[in-house]
């Protein structure tokens, strides 16, 4: 295990922010720390990096107890959400910083920095200052700076959080490829479930300071441990007291066995998909079907249909309140 977090508790004042958090991060993996805002993701990452001390619990990095180790001695690369670029240093000097601290020979530093700048495609920007870079470029500079010291683990706090939707989509594909190339154990924080599913091998869902579930993207999506995780990871709808994914529902114009009767309230065409909005037992629900299937059924509002979870669909029975 590259990182082992055991029973970590952390409070700010009287507010508990992490509660009995335990996670394992496998060497060479790419793990997403996913959860809603204020859930404690940054705090957990900072505890791993040593930028925050846990009240109780331990952190081991590469098998060594690092709980009381200063951040300088953990050999952890940290990329901050807002880059934390050294404003007074050029891109080159920013990336070289960790190596200069380690007193590496000048020509070795130059070679390594140029390699890294090539890796993040900033080789033309070496002599610029951070203020002369775009957000995405600054982010990549911060990544190269963290990678320069060959950290045992790389921690990224919402690496693409401050970027616009298009850029962040492209950057996350790029991060995945970069990880496949560099193989450094990586943990990144995100509150975007699509980003976590697309990029990570393992997802840790953290909410309200507690680990809700750990698993591969498919596991967490298909077998959510609880309604919260199910809601957080993708679209859900409620039919017959169960939480179901809208694409896991069969809809038919004839009454079917085990089906629930529903009234179509609206049919929304979203390109290839069609969203059928329903009233089921006095509650709103919706079903996602393909365009072809919707055309076949020729649904219009007011139609009475029968709906039931598709065979093999994962659903969670909601506790009645």
């Amino acid at each position: 295990m590259a990182i082992e977090v055991r029973d970590v508790n952390k409070s700010f004042g009287t507010t508990p922010v992490l509660r009995d958090v335990s996670i394992d991060v496998e060497s060479g993996s790419l793990t997403a720390l996913l959860g809603p805002s204020g859930g404690g993701k940054s705090t957990l990452l900072r505890v791993i990096a040593g930028l925050e001390q846990p009240d109780t619990g331990t952190v081991r990095i590469s098998g060594v107890d690092a709980t009381r180790l200063a951040p300088q001695r953990r050999n952890v690369g940290f990329v901050f959400q807002h880059y934390a670029a050294f404003k007074h240093l050029t891109v080159f000097r920013n990336v070289a910083f960790g190596l200069e601290i380690r007193k590496r020979p000048k020509d070795e530093i130059r070679k390594r920095v140029m390699e890294l700048l090539e890796l993040v495609h900033l080789e033309q920007m070496a002599d610029r200052y951070p203020s002369q870079l775009s957000g995405g470029q600054r982010q990549r500079m911060a990544l190269a700076r963290a990678l320069a010291v060959e950290p045992e683990v790389l921690l990224l706090d919402e690496p693409f959080g401050a970027l616009d939707a298009q850029v962040r989509k492209e950057l996350r594909t790029w991060l995945r490829r970069l990880h496949d190339e560099v193989h450094v154990t990586t943990v990144f924080v995100t509150h975007d479930q699509e980003e976590a599913i697309e990029v990570a091998d393992t997802i840790v869902v953290l909410a309200d300071g507690e680990v809700e579930q750990v698993g591969s993207p498919a596991e967490v999506y298909d077998n959510p441990a609880n309604p919260f995780v199910m809601r957080f990871l993708g679209p859900v709808t409620e039919i017959g007291g169960s939480l179901v994914r809208p694409h896991d529902i069969e809809i038919s114009t004839e009454p079917v066995e085990g089906g629930t009767s529903a009234t179509v309230s609206r049919v929304v065409r979203l390109g290839f998909e069609v969203r059928v909005e329903l009233q089921v037992e006095g509650r709103d629900a919706w079903v996602q079907v393909t365009r072809g299937f919707a055309d076949q059924l020729a649904l219009t509002s007011g139609d009475v249909v029968s709906v039931r979870p598709a065979p093999g669909a994962r659903s969670l029975v909601l506790a009645t309140v």
């Binding site: 040593g50 807002h82 910083f97 601290i101």
Partner: protein
């Protein structure tokens, strides 16, 4: 200029956000001209014309007279004392002001708000009152048993007092705004607290430290009120340039007074320009 276009196929594809962001520059031609125009006019009326008059006055009886006026023993002594003491005072306040600003921003202690307010006291007090306060504290009847009256140390003390706020108040806001995450990033890259201070914090503070020092220095060389009492104005010993100018005027020697004023003016300009150059040189080097 786009620089991320050519991407070797073996590497991950070119990441986005590649194009260099052009350096933004305000360009409202009419507005700028108007702005520059009024700034120049205002500066001319308030600063440049009076200065030019003084400079002109100082040489209206020829350069030889100017030179003699400046090098009379009492004038020369006042000038060297003033410049020497001001350099010393600027350096001490550079260090102490930075430390005080650091403590005020980074440390927590009871009474911090009071100390923070007290820093402005030298600005708020009329300088002659400051002189009086210093004289009663460090004069012949000093309750501390420390008599600095009529000595050069007293002059330095008075100058230290009136110029203390400059460095504190220029460094403090910069320190407050300094991105804490920069320091944490340095720490996780292996930098010790001292290395972080030396390589990250200090370079970001230097511009503010230098401009605070420049202000303290220029204020020092012109200081009159606070030094006039404690120094005792002993010519050749504790008389500062501003007081010397005053006594020249009283003795009806306006040309001599203008000559000494011009020297102070040049010294102030040289100090401001060289600190500015130092700052530019530093920021280019990083």
């Amino acid at each position: 200029m786009t620089t991320d276009v050519a991407v070797p196929p073996a590497l991950p594809p070119g990441p986005p956000g590649g194009g260099a962001r052009p350096r933004s520059r305000f360009s409202v031609p009419g507005g700028t001209a108007l702005g520059v125009g009024s700034a120049v006019l205002y500066l001319s009326l308030i600063v440049l014309i009076p200065l030019a008059v003084v400079a002109w006055r100082s040489v209206d009886q020829g350069p030889g007279y100017f030179w003699r006026a400046v090098t009379t023993p009492d004038a020369w002594s006042a000038l060297t004392l003033t410049v020497g003491a001001s350099i010393l005072v600027a350096l001490i306040n550079l260090v102490m002001g930075t430390i005080i600003a650091w403590v005020l921003v980074r440390d927590r202690f009871p009474g911090k708000a009071v100390v923070d307010t007290l820093i402005d006291l030298p600005f708020a007090l009329p300088t002659i009152v400051a002189g009086l306060v210093l004289l009663s504290l460090y004069g012949p009847e000093s309750p501390l048993g420390l008599n600095l009256a009529y000595s050069r140390a007293g002059v330095v003390l008075a100058l230290l007092f009136v110029t203390l706020p400059f460095v504190v108040r220029t460094v403090q806001p910069v320190l407050l705004e300094l991105d804490k995450e920069m320091e944490q990033a340095a720490a996780s890259l292996g930098a010790s607290p001292f290395q972080t201070f030396r390589r990250i914090i200090l370079p970001n503070l230097v511009p503010a430290m230098l401009s605070g020092t420049a202000l303290a220095f220029t204020r020092s060389i012109a200081e009159f009120g606070s030094t006039v009492l404690i120094s005792g104005n002993l010519p050749f010993k504790t008389q500062v340039a501003a007081v010397n100018i005053f006594s020249q005027i009283e003795g009806d020697n306006t040309t001599g007074a203008a000559a000494i004023s011009t020297v102070l003016l040049v010294v102030a300009l040289v100090a401001l320009v060289s600190l500015d150059l130092l700052q530019r040189w530093g920021s280019r080097r990083g």
